[in-house]
Amino acid sequence: MNILGIYYYWVFAILLMIGFYVVIAKLNLIKKLIGLSLFQAAVFLLYITMGNVEGASAPIYGFGAETFSNPLPQVLILTAIVVGISTTALGLGIVVRIKEEYDSVEEHEIQEMDRR
């Protein structure tokens, strides 16, 4: 079981880095938002992993389980997922407006246009 635990943590770390890299290195605004989603998804994985208890089941009574996984990280991540999609939606709204105003969604082209 512990191999899986270490692997989960490493996947969290790698996913976090991939998302973060996309956000800062890619110039396409939509790609940046995709990266941001990945970045946030990695954090969700971190929280849920730490709430897991060996041999337990989902924290719902009435299915005959004796031990339960930790409900608190799950609650936090439910909230965080919603916060994440809200940010993405607003970001996409801004991208649509940028496309209308600049006819481009590439950061360097927009900067070029603003410099003139």
Binding site: N2, I81, H108
Partner: protein
């Protein structure tokens, strides 16, 4: 068995993530992102987080994908720019990676029942839910009551995103009120199979949404997931019958009313607790029996969450769709 399955899913997730970075086609990237979300949801399910898995699947693979595709339709599918600042980005990312890896040492063993997270606050929730609230789903109890203030905040985050998108996309050129030219907005209605299958599906999706809404106290589910599912059903209707027809069924004003009304309902329940002599969001004063009061409160606030989420998601969808017609 779980170990093998978990490692398989995680490896697949990593491969998907790398593919997302490498592809220049944004359509492909969005689709891969949907797959990544489903893989993450499957992992959550393996980790006994059923509620989170349901939400991640509905949001990450569903709503998020729809919104990204809507944006791609209005902008472009190709990523033109080269990757820039490679060395700087790599340095920053590596620095963060080192900190994360540094933290791996000394962290509690995975799944250990003795970890601080499992011994301090969590047992209290598992213990007291039956005494104070008496509903089977502890996640719903924590979400709705013990940490109900966070959930109120979450509803207002959704609401803020909704008014943000409306502010950005409603007013400007054309005002979004220009009627569509005839014949241009019939959605998928010319295609027989999607139409028939879709029509058959919509009532079931709606029914499932309502089930998730009201069954959240007993099993995985709740207002947010239900709102997302109901919104998906109506988006499907809009795709099949055309957006105008969907707007005839539920006009924009009603959607705005739903978004605001849900938030007001949630806040109103909190204020009612105050007026009846408790603190803000104290549901136990809502009925003579505190446990009954808690259950009533959770039912009402979940309804508020569902209303706001449905209203906001549909408002955002229509705002994007209206832009598409003008372009």
């Amino acid at each position: 068995m779980t170990v093998v399955f978990g490692i398989f899913l995680l490896t697949l997730l990593l491969i998907t993530a790398v593919a997302i970075v490498r592809t220049k086609n944004l359509f492909v990237a969005v689709m891969l992102m949907g797959i990544a979300s489903l893989l993450i949801a499957a992992n959550f399910f393996l980790l006994d987080a059923a509620d989170v898995a349901l939400t991640e699947a509905a949001v990450g693979a569903g709503i998020s994908t729809v919104l990204f595709l809507g944006t791609l339709a209005l902008t472009t599918e190709r990523e033109r720019a080269p990757t820039s600042r490679k060395i700087l980005s790599f340095a920053v990312v590596s620095a963060a990676a080192l900190v994360v890896i540094y933290a791996t040492f000394d962290k509690p063993r995975f799944g250990s029942p003795d970890a601080p997270t499992q011994t301090h606050v969590a047992p209290w929730y598992l213990d007291k839910t039956r005494e104070f609230i008496d509903i089977p789903n502890v996640v719903t109890a924590v979400l709705g009551s013990f940490r109900g203030y966070d959930t109120l905040g979450e509803v207002f985050v959704v609401f803020a995103a909704g008014i943000g998108v409306l502010f950005l996309l409603a007013g400007a050129p054309g005002g979004g009120k220009r009627p569509a030219p005839p014949g241009s907005d019939v959605g998928l209605s010319r295609h027989l199979i999607p139409r028939v299958v879709g029509r058959l599906l919509i009532p079931f999706i709606l029914l499932f949404g309502l089930y998730v809404q009201f069954h959240g106290e007993y099993g995985p589910g709740g207002g947010f997931q239900a709102g997302a599912i109901v919104a998906a059903a109506i988006v499907l209707y809009a795709l099949l019958e055309g957006e105008e027809k969907a707007l005839q069924v539920i006009p924009r004003r009603v959607l705005l009313g739903l978004s605001a009304g849900g938030a007001i309902l949630y806040g109103g329940v909190g204020v009612a607790g105050m007026l009846l002599g408790g603190n803000f969001l104290d549901y136990s004063v809502l009925a003579d029996d505190p446990v009954k009061g808690q259950q009533t409160g959770i039912l009402l606030i979940e309804a508020g969450v569902g209303l706001t989420v449905t209203g906001v998601l549909l408002s955002i969808f229509h705002a994007f769709a209206a832009r598409g017609r003008q372009a």
